[in-house]
Symmetry: C2
Subunit: 352 residues, 2 copies
C-alpha cells in the first residue's frame, strides 16, 4: 500500500477537506495512474450527500470522482495494453466478475458484481473504493481506457461518464444520420448528447425550459431549439421525432415529450427522476412508441466513444477548477450553474 492525496467528505453534511488515503500496490493486472483531471458528475454530488441512500448508502469518508484522465505511472507484470507514460481514462467502474452474461456481452455495468469507482466494496483493501478526487488510482487494466492524445484533457475527463452515458443510447438506437433527434435538457449530459448526435449526422433539436440556453444550444451543434414550456412550439413539432434522449433528472412531463415522437419513436431516459414518471398508456399506444432507460455503457463502447471523439475533435465544455474550489463548485452544481461540467485540474493537489 502507498499513501495518496485526496479530497474527502466525512459525512453527508461535511465539506470536502484535504485528506490522505491508502491505495493498493499494483497487482499483476493493475495499472497505477497519476490523475491529471477529474470531472465533477452529479452522481458525485448525490453520493456525497447520501441522496441515494435507499439504493446505495454512502460509506464515509467518501471520495467521489469517476471521470478520470491520467497518465500511467506503473504497470503490473501481466498488463498487456498499457505502459508507463500512456494517457488513460477511468470511468464509473473499476472491476466486475468478468464471467457473467453481462460481462460476456460487454455490458459490465449490468454485472451483478461490478465494482464502481467509488463507494463500492473494495475487494483488495476492504472498505469502499475511493474515486478520482485524488492524485492517483490503481485500476485493473480491463477497466482502463486509452485516451486519445489529440484532445484537451480537461474536456476529455467528463467523456468517461457524461460522454458514454449519452453515446451508448444514441448508438444503440441505430443509425441516426438524417434522423430527427431531440435532446431534452442542456446540462452535462445534454450538451454531450447534442455534440454526438450532430457529429453522427442527425437533425438535432434541443428541448429546454430556459430560453437563455438557446444560443448556446445552437453553438454546441443543435439545428433548432424548442422551449418546452411553449405549447405552440411543442404543438408545431408534435409527432415528428425519431428519437429523443432525455437527460432530465427532475420530475417533468414525459407525456408531452412522448407526443413529440413519430411512429415507432423512442424516448430514452438517462436521467433518473426520484419520483415515478406519470406515463399515459395512450401516449405509448398511439404511434406504438417506446420509453427506455440506459445506464452509462460498457468498456468496449466507451473506448469506441473515445476513439470517435478523437476523430471528430469532441470534448466536453468544461470549467477547469483547482481542487481547493471543490466546495464552491458543489454549491454552484446544486443550482446547475456550470457550463457544462467542472473538471478538476489535479495539479492543484500537488501543492497541498
Amino acid at each position: 500500500m502507498y499513501q495518496a492525496k485526496a479530497y474527502s467528505v466525512a459525512s453527508a453534511t461535511s465539506p470536502f477537506i484535504s485528506d490522505t488515503i491508502q491505495r493498493r500496490e499494483t497487482t499483476e493486472r493493475d495499472v497505477q495512474i497519476e490523475i491529471l483531471f477529474c470531472g465533477v458528475c452529479h452522481s458525485d454530488f448525490h453520493t456525497v450527500r447520501d441522496e441515494w441512500h435507499s439504493i446505495m448508502p454512502t460509506t464515509y469518508p467518501c471520495i467521489p470522482g469517476h471521470e478520470i484522465v491520467g497518465r500511467v505511472t506503473k504497470a503490473g507484470s501481466a498488463v498487456t495494453k498499457f505502459k508507463a507514460g500512456d494517457l488513460v481514462g477511468v470511468g464509473c467502474m473499476v472491476d466486475s466478475d468478468h464471467d457473467c452474461p453481462s460481462c460476456k456481452a460487454n455490458v459490465e455495468q449490468f454485472c451483478p458484481s461490478s465494482t464502481f469507482t467509488y463507494n463500492s466494496p473494495d475487494k483488495h483493501l476492504g472498505g469502499v473504493t475511493y474515486g478520482g478526487y485524488s492524485d492517483s488510482i490503481v485500476v485493473d487494466e480491463r477497466f482502463v481506457l486509452t485516451v486519445p492524445t489529440n484532445l484537451d484533457l480537461a474536456g476529455v475527463a467528463p467523456l468517461l461518464c457524461a460522454g458514454i452515458t449519452t453515446w451508448s443510447p444514441i448508438r444503440r438506437w441505430g443509425d441516426i444520420k438524417g434522423k430527427k433527434v431531440g435532446v431534452v435538457g442542456l446540462g452535462g449530459l445534454g450538451h454531450m448528447g447534442v455534440k454526438f448526435a450532430r457529429a453522427l449526422g442527425a437533425m438535432v433539436t434541443v428541448f429546454t425550459t430556459s430560453p437563455g440556453k438557446k444560443e448556446d444550444a445552437l453553438r454546441l451543434g443543435a439545428h433548432e431549439v424548442i422551449i418546452s414550456k411553449n405549447a405552440d412550439e411543442m404543438k408545431a413539432h408534435a409527432g415528428s421525432f425519431d428519437f429523443i434522449l432525455d437527460t432530465i433528472s427532475a420530475d417533468h412531463d414525459i407525456n408531452a415529450l412522448l407526443g413529440m415522437l413519430g411512429l415507432d419513436g423512442n424516448l430514452t431516459l438517462v436521467g433518473a427522476p426520484e419520483t415515478p414518471l406519470q406515463v399515459s398508456a395512450f401516449a405509448l399506444l398511439s404511434g406504438r412508441k417506446s420509453l427506455s432507460g440506459s445506464l452509462i455503457g460498457g468498456i468496449k463502447e466507451t473506448q469506441e466513444m473515445l476513439d470517435f471523439c478523437a476523430e471528430h475533435n469532441i470534448t466536453s465544455d468544461v470549467e477547469v477548477i483547482p481542487i481547493q474550489k471543490i466546495n464552491e463548485a458543489y454549491e454552484r452544481l446544486a443550482r446547475s450553474d456550470v457550463k457544462y461540467r467542472f473538471s478538476i485540474d489535479m495539479a492543484s493537489l500537488k501543492s497541498e
Copy 2:
C-alpha cells in the same frame, strides 16, 4: 341505400334495442357482407358507455362491433380480391387515406384519416359508421380480410381485434422462439397472447392475480403461471424475461413487471389504463429496459395472423350468444365474467 337490421343503443345509459339502419349500396371497390359472427370487444363496451368521451365522444345511436366474420354477398365492379360467397373478416378499420406514410408502411391504424368500423365519421353517408352488431355491412375491399375456411367461425371473429392486437407486438418484438415470454392478464387479449406465443415457440408464462385461472392458463398453452400478488413467486423470476405482453386495462404495478425483465427486455402495453402508469426511471435504467405501446395492427399483418391461425388451428375461446342476449353479456363483461370472448351468432338477428 338499403336497410339493415342491427342492435343499437340510444345513449350511454340505454340498453341495446333491435333497430333498422341504412347501409350504402356497394360502390365499385366495396364488398357487401352478410355478417355471420361478431365478437364483443371491451372497446365496444367503452364506446357504448361513452367512457372514452375525452378522446372520442360517442355519437348515438351507436352500433358497435369490430370483430366481424361473414360471407360476401355482392362485390363492386372494381373489386379484385373477393367474390360472392367468400368468407371474409372486418376488423377495427374500414377505410384510410391510402396515401400517408402510415398507409404506405402498412400501418393504417396510424393513418390520420383512418375510418374506424364504428363511431367514426362516415364518408359515404354522413353521420358515423355503424359496426358489426348487424346483419350486413359494406366495406372497401382494401379493409376486408380473407378468412380461412378450416376454422370455427365464431372463434375467428375475435381474431379481428383481440387477435391482431396481441399478434402485432409479439411479431414486432422479433423471433420469440425459445425466448421467455410473459403474458399479463388472462382475458380476451391475454388468452390470444398465450396461444400465439406458444405457437411461435416461446416459453410462456402467464402473470395473473387470480389463482383460479392457473389451470386454464396451462390448458391454453402456458408453461407456467405466476400469481403476481405473490412476492416470492415474483422474486424467483425477477430479471428473467425477454418480453412481456401486458394486456391489463386497469391500474397495476408496472415497476414490478419491469423488474421481471432481463437485460434489454421489453414490456409492451396493449391495454390502456385510464390513470397514468407510475413508472420508476430506475426500473428502466437498470437493465436498460423499455416500455412500449402497441395498437391493433395493419391490414397486411392481420391477414398474416389469420393465415397463421389457419395453419396452427388457432381461434379464440368463445361463448356464442344470440344477439338478444347482448345486454346480459354486457353485464357479465363488466365483471370480466367471460371465457374469453362473447361471439354473437348473427343468425339470431334473422328471426327479428
